[in-house]
């Protein structure tokens, strides 16, 4: 058997492999596939279910429970609270993300190189980025995939003289079905479900699905496997305990779940860096109404980005969303929301993405992760500027109304009202944010004093336990993190493979 469902693992109860990989998203799938190809016996443990491309549809209400952690109701606490989304399925968040495939900007990689050495710099990481980009077909979109909402952004940026970059995306002949956030139904988006996981299976890896990892097996000071609970998909109840033994454990459950697993051990909690350095690239939505049909749901989501204000920590991007998400973001209720939504085909949705200036922290209480993050005054000012810039662009392109992410200034109808943004926005709490980029909670470093794992990805305080997800990031990457997660996971896998004999001898 290759893919085990909960009822299958309930029968066997105990598994063993050389490498146990927790999570099948950008980090876990890459590390697991490369190690399987290097000859390791690899077993993935995935909390979510297995949903092939043929099961994907554009219907959010049915897709969200199948593909999203907690049905998309996860929140980072702070001022303001920030809802976040992450995948819970085979392929993890790569199944539900926008598929952006940008390397970190040069300044970020220069900082990493200065602090951590050549291997973490632009040239040192280049071979890993190249391997990943080839596998996921990282490239720009073909013209037949572009929709009118992207054209508005591009033409608007050109009019205002702003730098607009066509996005590099993980896609193979993407036709712009615009269903990225509910699983690509055409198979074009190169999530790990259709890229690295198949490679892993071809090399002999197995995958336990519907199994949530609760504990690590620690014996003789080394990590020797994981213990999980089956989650019955039909009842959502916890079922049997399943033991998965391995000589190496790779945690790739994301920057919130990975520290949550580790924080239950006092010996690991002593390292105060664990759960710290929590970064999340918060973003704010701006929705605009045009006097003509745009049908933003046709054509790729996020065909490009405006990077003109990158030096100020602001990136602007189009990001269309289905009506079920859009309606929840429109201020008001009842007939007021309908009045906006009835013009759904004339709306376009965009986001202001702001680079973090102060990290938050992930802690653990009652077995669950508790993420805390407050935006700073600088972040707040960046949001105000970013929202104003987007509104200006849309008015320039003929928008008749712009809906703003502020609870006390919900929309404006002309560029003359733009100064109202600065005038009315004094408090961070009136800002409405969202994020999908969580990072940094088990950062890589040169010593346990300032990091959680070494440059091989292995925990300073728990030999045999590695991290291969966005938790590794020493700093925010300033752009979409998928390719960086994949590259660092490839690096971790290469280090493990290079020490194969030593690891297997520890059995």
């Amino acid at each position: 058997m290759i893919i085990y469902k909960q009822k299958d693992s309930a029968r066997e109860r105990e598994f063993s492999a050389e490498v146990v990989v927790v999570g099948t998203g950008a980090g876990g799938a890459v590390a697991g596939a490369l190690l399987a190809e290097a000859g390791f016996d690899v077993i993935f443990v995935e909390e979510g279910g297995y949903h092939p491309t043929s099961s994907f549809s554009p219907y959010l209400a049915e897709s969200q429970p199948r593909l999203y952690r907690d049905n998309g109701t996860t929140v980072i606490m702070g001022n303001p609270p920030i809802p976040f989304a992450e995948g819970r399925c085979v392929g993890g968040s790569t199944v539900i993300n926008g598929g952006m495939a940008w390397r970190p900007i040069s300044e970020v990689l220069d900082t990493w190189e200065n602090e951590l050495g050549y291997e973490m710099g632009e040239k040192g990481l280049d071979p890993y980025f190249t391997e990943v980009e080839e596998t996921i077909h990282a490239k720009k979109q073909a013209p037949y995939s572009i929709g009118d909402d992207n054209r508005i952004m591009k033409k608007g940026a050109e009019k205002l003289g702003w730098e607009y970059l066509d996005n590099v995306r993980a896609q193979d002949r993407c036709v712009g079905a615009n269903s990225c956030i509910v699983g690509c139904p055409t198979g074009a988006k190169q999530s790990t479900l259709v890229s690295y996981i198949p490679r892993a299976f071809e090399a002999g890896a197995r995958c336990l699905t519907e199994l949530r990892v609760d504990e690590l097996i620690i014996e003789g000071g080394r990590c020797r496997g994981v213990i999980g609970r089956g989650v019955n998909p039909a009842t959502r109840q916890d079922e049997e305990r399943v033991i998965v033994r391995g000589r190496i454990v790779i945690l790739a459950a994301g920057a919130i779940q990975t520290p949550n697993i580790l924080l239950q051990y006092r010996s690991l909690r002593k390292n105060k860096n664990l759960g710290g350095n929590f970064l999340c690239h918060p973003n704010a939505k701006v929705v605009s109404r045009f006097p003509y049909d745009v049908k933003g749901w046709q054509g790729v989501s996020q065909g490009g980005q405006i990077r003109e204000f990158r030096d100020e920590g602001i990136v602007l991007a189009e990001n269309f969303i289905p009506p079920a998400v859009m309606a929840a973001q429109i201020h008001g209720h009842g007939d007021e929301v309908w009045e906006t939504m009835r013009h759904y085909n004339r709306l376009i949705a965009c986001g202001v993405l702001v680079e973090d200036t102060r990290p938050g922290r992930v802690t653990r209480s009652f077995g669950r992760p508790n993420a805390r993050y407050n935006i700073t005054k600088i972040d707040h000012e960046r949001f105000l500027k970013g929202v104003e810039l987007l509104a200006r662009l849309h008015f320039e392109m003929g928008a008749e109304k712009v809906y703003l992410p502020f609870s006390n200034l919900t929309s404006i109808e002309s560029p003359d009202q733009l100064p109202l943004i600065k005038k009315t926005q004094r408090s961070r709490s009136s800002l409405e944010l969202f994020t999908v980029h969580m990072m940094g909670t088990a950062r890589m470093g040169l010593s346990r004093r300032d990091s959680v794992v070494n440059l091989d990805g292995e925990l300073w305080d728990l030999p045999g336990c590695f991290v291969a997800d966005a938790s590794l990031f020493p700093t925010a990457v300033g752009t979409n993190p998928q390719v960086t997660i994949m590259a660092l996971a490839a690096k971790v896998a290469e280090r493990i493979a290079g020490k194969r004999a030593a690891f297997l001898a520890t059995a």
Binding site: I2, K5, H51, S57, G147, V175, P322, P323, R342
Partner: protein, 191 residues
């Protein structure tokens, strides 16, 4: 044998389907979250105020689907989140009495009176007060605005478009590049 099974799995993982609302991939969807009559009354009274009327699609069968879908959604949240959200529904049911000095709870008020209270909550300067409506609104709207009648009223036809694009990609894979008429244009000014 194992290799052959792996290749079959890989083929299955990549093959596009029919974009069905209820795909048959062997993954059973959980039944609705069990709630008692008081909770049901609280949810339905919040639904009554939050959902649009007028020319927006509404009928008892649609409302029932929305209600059921919401309860199914609760099953996929953590228990504490689901229970927290249900508590908020109860709080909203009683808030007219406890905070707004009305003689009756939400389910006994007219829709307009309920709407007036919700407007006060939405525009409160206090973040914790505004947050009261966040989860109920997301839960109810994500279900309502994903119903076929609502899609039709919005002029949103995602399945038809998806199937067209699946066919286009297949054609590109088999015969090379796309034609100019495969491009997506709705507004001449943007060409």
């Amino acid at each position: 044998m194992r290799k052959r099974r792996a290749l079959e799995r890989i083929e299955e993982m990549r093959r596009p389907g029919k974009a069905l609302r209820h795909p048959d991939d062997g993954y059973p969807i959980a039944p609705p979250y069990p709630v008692g009559p008081k909770t049901e009354r609280a949810i339905r009274s919040v639904m009554r105020v939050l959902l649009p009327e007028g020319d927006a699609p509404r009928n008892p069968e649609l409302d029932e689907r929305v209600y059921r879908q919401m309860l199914v959604s609760l099953q996929y949240m953590s228990k504490s989140t689901a229970q927290g959200i249900l508590s908020v529904f109860h709080l909203l049911e009683w808030i007219p009495v406890t905070r707004f000095g009305r003689p009756s709870r939400l389910s006994k008020l007219s829709r307009d009176e309920g709407s007036e209270i919700f407007r006060t909550i939405e525009s409160s300067p206090l973040l914790p007060v505004r947050l009261l409506l966040l989860a109920p609104k997301a839960l109810i709207f994500s279900s309502y605005f994903d119903q076929p009648e609502v899609h039709e009223a919005l002029g949103y036809e995602p399945r038809k478009f998806t199937l067209d694009r699946i066919a286009l990609r297949q054609r590109i894979i088999e015969h090379g590049d796309a034609d100019e008429e495969d491009e997506i244009h709705h507004t001449e000014a943007l060409r």
